[in-house]
């Protein structure tokens, strides 16, 4: 062997699947580290990764916020956050290994000096922690602040991949990615210019969920589903993302955006893309993105938007045994607000596979329960050799991917009721991902943070996907502008218009 130099790690063998993928020594810089997302999701996720042994030996979290804190205060806050919100059991020794790996840089986003200090802090990690430049910048901040922070990163040169001895620089941004196609394009352009497009990670935490990744397995690793996954057999598809909660403390943000921009544009359309895309050539990020993009670009709204683009706004009502206020009575919401808290739309996908198959999407707040699912509803059997009265209660076959909660898959089909007659009824057969596996299913943020640090972009939508999604939502917003959403009682399944949308073609929403 002697003088040979190797570029890849000789101890890493793809066939050795016990060795987890561990990122190179790196720093995670969080802007807005005092916010809810950092406390409830990001820091706990880092602890969980450490607990599962998935962090490199050298790993530092750098917090940036407008607080007069030292490293110790930050570490103490992080410890509290991890202890109260981590998924895996608390182990002091795991924390002990993270101790001393917390740095805090106080400052505001327009403070040049603070960013110079941040730059110096990240550079010092080379000496103190053996981290030779690798850093991911997590934007847990309002989108309005993005341009300022990006400019600072550019000014200090922090956003540039290091040339001397390696070292990547990546940026992680959360939704919303703009508020329409034009603003998203501007934002994308700005981020891609400061970092390179390849180093930008857009988080859609739905894609970090095991059940969503399992859709790839279900569709492309099995022989029995794909042959019927098309307009020859599928009558229509329903995608539901329901929440029982109201807007909580997000009044300002929510009232400016509404359900379509907040949820439909990202989570729901991503679910649609994964459920409807063609088989990718491989499982590389680029290959999956190509197929997702194709299907997103093939989406077409119905010509009659009045009947197929329904908005609702929750009114007073009862949710799970408790009285709740209507949207207009929420704090900091103007009485005249016409923002929707519910949106249901019918879409078509213009390709051979899905020609003529309606996709019904709905999302809303203050619905009866929290549930996200994709229901593929099949056509009726072409001919039934049974008497009408025997099959009266028989519905269409369904395959339901339950994304959350009760992660799993339900298949609904007709079966004979025991007895001497030939009476048929629907039964459902369930695979419960959750029942036995949940305990070890990582949180979406764990998976996504790890992927950022590893540089794996498979589960992150790129700028073009964001653009294609806005191209679907923009005409809806245009059509809705100046109209009032239909009120619906809190704790019900949304406005009547949404039911009528399906009834007009003899269909109905699945009770999720």
């Amino acid at each position: 062997m002697g003088e040979t130099l190797h570029t890849t790690n000789p101890l890493r063998d793809p066939a050795d699947r016990r060795l987890p993928r561990i990122p190179e020594p790196c720093a995670l810089v969080i802007f807005g580290v005092t916010g809810d997302l950092a406390k409830k999701k990001l820091i706990p996720a880092v602890y969980d990764l450490a607990n599962r042994g998935l962090l490199p030996a050298s790993f530092v979290i750098v917090g940036f916020a407008r607080r007069d804190w030292g490293d110790e205060t930050f570490e103490e806050m992080a410890r509290e956050a991890a202890k109260s919100h981590a998924r895996t059991p608390w182990r002091e020794e795991v924390w002990a290994r993270l101790a001393g790996s917390f740095k805090f840089v106080p400052g505001t986003f327009d403070d040049d000096e603070a960013f110079d200090r941040l730059d110096a802090t990240v550079d010092e990690l080379r000496e103190t922690h053996g981290i030779v430049g690798n850093a991911a910048f997590y934007f847990s901040i309002p989108p309005l602040a993005f341009p300022t922070v990006l400019k600072q990163l550019k000014r200090t040169g922090m956003s540039d991949n290091r040339q001397d001895g390696g070292g990547w620089r990546r940026v992680v941004v959360e939704k919303p990615f703009g508020e329409d196609r034009a603003s998203a394009a501007e934002l994308n352009h700005l981020v891609d210019e400061v970092f390179t497009a390849n180093d930008v990670f857009r988080i859609d935490h739905y894609l970090g969920k095991e059940t969503v990744q399992n859709i790839f397995a279900l569709r492309f690793a099995n022989a029995m589903f794909e042959p019927i996954w098309n307009s020859n057999y599928v009558d229509h598809v329903q995608i539901t993302m329901a929440e029982d909660v109201g807007i909580g403390s997000r009044a300002g943000f929510y009232d400016d955006n509404g359900a379509a921009r907040d949820v439909l544009q990202n989570h729901v359309l991503q679910l649609l893309a994964i459920a409807a895309m063609e088989q990718p050539n491989g499982f590389e990020a680029e290959e999956i993105r190509t197929e997702k993009l194709k299907v997103l670009r093939a989406i077409k709204l119905h010509d009659d938007l009045e009947a197929t683009a329904i908005r609702g706004q929750y009114a007073d009502g009862w949710v799970q045994g408790r009285p709740v206020k209507g949207y207009l009575a929420e704090d900091n919401i103007p009485q005249t607000s016409t923002t929707e808290t519910y949106a249901a739309v019918q879409l078509g996908i213009q390709n051979r596979r899905w020609n003529g198959v309606p996709f019904y999407l709905r999302t809303g707040k203050r619905l009866p329960k929290r549930v996200t699912e994709i229901a593929v509803v099949f056509k009726e059997a072409p001919h039934m050799p049974f008497a009408d009265y025997d099959t009266k209660t028989l519905g269409n076959n369904q395959l339901v991917i339950r994304v959350q909660p009760d992660e799993g898959i339900t298949v609904k089909f007709g079966s004979k009721v025991p007895g001497t007659g030939m009476e048929l009824r629907d039964i459902s057969m369930g695979f419960g991902y959750g029942e036995t596996f949940t305990e070890s299913s990582p949180e979406a943020y764990e998976r996504l943070i790890l992927d950022v640090l590893l540089g794996d972009k498979t589960l992150f939508p790129d700028a073009q996907e964001v653009d294609a999604s806005w191209a679907v939502v923009d005409p809806l917003e245009e059509y809705w502008a100046g109209t009032k959403p239909e009120p619906y009682e809190s704790g019900t399944w949304g406005p009547q218009g949404a039911d009528l949308m399906l009834q007009s073609s003899g269909r109905r929403w699945r009770r999720a």
Partner: protein, 313 residues
């Protein structure tokens, strides 16, 4: 539910009844057949109930009891969702010739068409059951550190390896290996010398040496050292040191309290903790991999070749 002097048919009826009462539990991922003794029963049960949180399985635990008895007799306990966690569990106590005909008892009890994993802590050779257990298992988990002569047991495994064999001694060095592998990220020089301070009698240390040998092409020297372990299922490895072609050194050292220090030339010391895992955690890791472990196979090949060279073959 306890069944005295029973048959497999009655056991399965009891299980079906219990499952019906509990209601619709389904989606078994595998069968786990554990061969154990009354002395080890509690340990095995504890580990199995832990692993069941992650892997929905049917546990069939066989305990040979009175081997001298002339009459074959099966006593069974059937539980679902009780002390064995979420697993469907059948605990068998076998007298006389029943033990020797284990597969005739186990085969009808296996959940259909999901993989069968066998697991034993004791030495099946003692009961003449090794072939019996091999016949229906897709994967066989052993624990060579528990054998009378652990290293010899490892060598025997290297000689007789068939696809699907695995050893908890291999499972328990995963964290160590992962630590060393991540230390090698960014190292570009070839390795010239490897020294492992470890208990020479620990099969895990032998596996570590063989793994490094396989991957780096350098045979490590094991310096026999007494290693203080604060957990039973830790490998008895104190440190692994590398000397690179450029003369640089790198060392991973684990202290008795679990603090692990990585010293690498030109870089500050880095600390990690490396604690022992419970048998349940190790079993859970093991059950995650149902396909043949090619990395383990290669390591055993290295062990076999090295043994051959030493014997002058």
């Amino acid at each position: 539910m306890h069944l005295k002097d029973t048959t497999t048919g009655d056991i399965m009826k009891s299980l079906a009844k219990l499952l019906h009462e509990v209601g619709g539990a389904s989606g078994l991922a595998l069968n786990l057949v554990a061969l154990t003794t009354e002395d080890e029963r509690e340990e095995v049960e504890k580990a199995a109930s832990f692993a069941a949180q992650e892997h929905p399985y049917r546990l069939i635990m066989a305990i040979p009891r009175d081997l001298e008895a002339t009459e074959a007799r099966i006593d069974a306990e059937v539980t679902v969702g009780e002390r064995l966690g979420s697993a469907e569990a059948i605990i068998l106590r076998l007298d006389g010739p029943a033990a020797a005909h284990l597969s005739s008892i186990v085969l009808p009890m296996l959940a259909s068409d999901v993989p069968v994993v066998t697991w034993w802590l004791l030495d099946p050779v003692r009961y003449g059951l090794e072939q019996e257990l091999r016949s229906f298992a897709d994967r066989r988990i052993t624990y060579s550190a528990r054998a009378n002569d652990p290293v010899q047991s490892l060598h025997r495994r290297a000689e007789t390896y068939v696809s699907g064999d695995t050893d908890i001694c291999w499972t328990r060095i995963s964290l160590w290996r992962s630590l060393i592998a991540s230390a090698f990220d960014g190292v570009t020089h070839a390795v010239e010398k490897i020294t492992i301070k470890a208990d020479d009698d620990d099969p895990s240390a032998q596996l570590m040496a063989a793994w490094l040998h396989t991957r780096l092409g350098v045979a490590p020297e094991i310096v026999d050292t007494t290693v203080v372990r604060n957990s039973e299922h830790l490998p008895a490895i104190a440190s692994v040191a590398f000397t690179m072609a450029g003369g640089e050194t790198m060392e991973v050292e684990r202290k008795a309290d679990g603090t692990t220090v990585l010293r690498q030339a030109g870089l500050p010391k880095r600390r990690q903790t490396l604690q022992g895992r419970t048998l349940g955690q190790l079993l859970a890791e093991e059950l995650r991999h149902i396909d043949p472990d090619t990395a383990y196979r290669r390591v055993l090949e290295t062990i076999r070749e090295n043994a051959g060279e030493r014997a002058g073959v």
